[in-house]
């Protein structure tokens, strides 16, 4: 079994290096095929591992070699595949394979085709390190690795220039890439602090050893570690206030958004909380804080999705909102529920993004949904896929989201955190509304795309076939819930609903489904018959403007952080460094020079005045000697 671990881990690396060989060459179709195959092999290995672990119930561990051995620290490249890991691996490799195959279509006319596949596979490799590592430091390698790959991929079309768009003061792929990297770095500092605390208190980074001794630590220390690690998770999973990068990351190619910014990388934070469940179970107050933040993000992001016109940004906000759901579940102690929603969400969200990619291709990269409409006729399959994805996202029976999201709501109810339950319930309604607003705006109603002269076309058949596994998963995953619970609770703590909740389940399900259906119906009534814009409302309604402008947060960040930092830096350089520090150094030098200039006059060349000076010096020496003698 160890070999399969290596195959799953290194196939993406081989794939990336292979593509990198041709990175500067014009498109070679073979690169796309080979990389897709290699990622497929990783998927295959992951599935074998999955079955093996299901059979034996034991984790598969391998240790590659020493990494950092210094002082008392002994860190190795160690990988361990347990129930949680293997679920993550399967999800990651499945979606990666689909996205790789799909990218052959999406990037077919891009001149940097080979480079794209190199980055994409490198991302898969980093993500595999992240989920497979058996220690916190290894996780951090993957953590930063996915950050860099995300930076490379968001900024893939680096030659585009900065522009001012909507609320963003300046945006371009390279700008968004830097924003994502720097915001994640802020969170990484928190993560590093958590790692430092673990090291100085437990002396090891290995999950098994850390969690075995977690009870030895004081409660305050545990809270410290828990908060520090969660700050790290907030960055990767784009939780408020570090959320702005995710929407801006939509500047990257759409397959990237599907893979990184929907299905895999952004769930790394959730994965970390699930992984550290022995820690977070000890500190329910931090867990509650996580749940509250998650809930807030769920509704906060959903509210922005309600009015946005950008096809990809709507999906990005919905990702943000769903990540909030996952954190709410994990924070409340229902770790397997969070993991289940993570897996289900990965499938249908990737499906939605890839569907959006098809639409973008059809619309010649136009993203404004107000300029689409009626695409159902030409893009039947894409409509079907996005429909399935949206139904799953809205939580309609029998799609995946129904099972996973409903369980989160039940958990919130079961924990007597009715506030969280209510907000999540309300968000479920909003989710259904904005998902179907999107579907109706794009596929129904009047054909507004004629105005911009687009000639939409359906994607190529193989691209559509590649999407099929995701669509199937979005439909059927829910029915495997019981098996999933049985599988992962061998590793994760079980979560039992109280009897009271069990009684209420049916009622809860009904009212949740009702609010979702209401959302869909509202969206249908408003958008399905064609777009009727109320310009006056859009321009004057304060709430609409607030939501449309993302609560003005990008502007606020720009004014409060980016610009003052730049100004402060300029002051530090021009005022302090040049005017104070360097000037005082030069001042000392000038003082020496000036005093030389002054004392030079003493050297007037007149021998008799020299003799006077000499005599004066002699007198001074005698006086000093006399004083010295007198003192002694």
């Amino acid at each position: 079994m160890e070999n399969y671990v290596y195959i799953a881990l290194f196939a993406p690396l081989v794939s990336s290096l292979f593509a990198a060989l041709f990175a500067q060459k014009p498109k070679i179709q073979l690169v796309g095929i080979v990389t897709s195959l290699l990622i497929g092999i990783a998927l295959f290995a992951s599935v074998i591992l999955f079955m093996n672990i299901e059979e034996t119930g034991k984790a598969v561990s391998v240790t590659l070699m020493d990494w950092i051995v210094v002082g008392d620290m002994d860190t190795k490249f160690g990988f361990s595949v347990d129930q949680v890991t293997v679920v993550m691996m399967t999800v990651v490799t499945l979606i990666s394979t689909v996205v790789h195959i799909y990218s052959n279509y999406y990037m077919e006319s891009d001149k940097s085709f080979n480079r794209f596949f190199s980055y994409l596979s490198a991302f898969v490799f980093s993500m595999m390190i992240l989920v497979m590592s058996d220690n916190f430091l290894g996780l951090f390698i993957g953590w930063e690795g996915v950050g860099v790959c995300s930076w490379l991929l968001i900024g893939f079309w680096y030659e585009k220039k900065d522009e001012t768009r909507d609320v963003n003061p300046s945006i371009s792929p390279s700008w968004a890439a830097n924003e994502a990297f720097i915001m994640n770095r802020i969170a990484d500092l928190g993560m590093l602090v958590g790692i430092f605390l673990i090291y100085w208190n437990l002396g090891t980074f290995k999950y098994t050893e850390v969690f075995a001794h977690i009870g030895d630590l004081s409660h305050t220390m545990l809270i410290g570690i828990g908060i520090a690690l969660f700050i790290g998770a907030m960055g990767k999973s784009a939780q408020f206030p570090l959320h702005t990068w995710l929407a801006d990351a939509m500047e990257g190619p759409t397959p990237v958004s599907a893979l990184i910014h929907a299905a895999t990388m952004v769930t790394a934070g959730v994965y970390l909380v699930i992984r550290a469940n022995p820690l977070y179970s000890q500190i329910p107050e931090v867990g509650y804080g996580i749940a509250v933040l998650g809930t807030f993000v769920a509704i906060f992001a959903a509210s922005m999705a309600l009015v946005n016109r950008d096809l990809k940004r709507v999906i990005a906000y919905s990702t943000l909102s769903q990540l909030g759901y996952m954190f709410a579940a994990a924070g409340l102690g229902a770790y397997w529920v969070a993991l289940f929603h993570l897996a289900a969400h990965a499938a249908f969200k990737a499906l939605l993004f890839i569907g959006a990619g098809n639409v973008m291709h059809a619309m010649h990269d136009e993203l404004d949904m107000f300029k689409m409409g009626g695409l159902k006729k030409v893009m039947g399959w894409t409509f079907l896929y996005m429909g399935i994805g949206s139904l799953a996202l809205s939580g309609i029976y029998p799609f995946a989201g129904f099972f996973s999201k409903d369980t989160i709501l039940e958990v919130a109810f079961n924990e007597h955190t009715y506030g969280i339950w209510f907000i999540l319930w309300l968000t479920a309604g909003l989710t259904a509304f904005y998902s179907f607003r999107q579907v109706f705006l794009v596929f129904f109603g009047d054909e507004r795309y004629h105005e911009i002269g687009a000639h939409p076309h359906e994607a190529k058949p193989y691209a559509l076939w590649a999407m099929a596994p995701l669509a199937v998963a979005a439909v059927v995953v829910g029915f495997f819930k019981e098996d999933f619970v049985e599988f992962v609770t061998k590793f994760l703590p079980e979560y039992e609903m109280s009897e009271h909740t069990e009684h209420m389940v049916v009622i809860l399900t009904i009212i949740t489904t009702l609010v979702a259906l209401t959302g869909i119906v509202v969206a249908y009534l408003k958008y399905a018959k064609g777009l009727k814009r109320n310009l006056e409302f859009e321009q004057n309604n304060k709430l609409y403007k607030l939501l449309y402008n993302q609560y003005y947060i990008p502007v606020i960040y720009d004014r409060v952080f980016a610009k003052p930092y730049k100004e402060l830096s300029d002051i530090a350089w021009k005022e302090i460094d040049m005017q104070v520090v360097d000037a005082s150094v030069d001042g000392i030098a000038k003082f020496v020079e000036k005093s030389g200039d002054v004392s030079r006059k003493a050297q007037n060349g007149n021998l008799s005045s020299y003799l006077n000076w000499m005599a004066a010096g002699l007198v001074i020496i005698i006086v000093i000697a006399a004083i010295a003698v007198a003192v002694q």
Partner: protein
Amino acid sequence: MTIGLTHYLVLSAILFSVGLAGVLRRKNLLMLFFATEIMLNAANVAFAAISVHIGDLSGQMFALFIMAVAASEVAVGLGLLILIYKKYGTLNLDNFSIMKG
């Protein structure tokens, strides 16, 4: 009243001050030479007196040594003076400031 060490030293100090005053006030190079000779001899007096006082001959040896040095100095110095006078036609110190910084 016997003449003791103190008297010799006072004499030496007076001679030295005379010499020093000459060095400081005189403008003529020749006069400066005389003044320095006076200072050297002041030192000689002090050397010889102290030598006798502590019963060590090295002081008197030093005095002789200084005389020898002073003699050679005068020999070289006067030669230079003559050259300077030939070249500039004056021995006034204020006229020589070529070492001005």
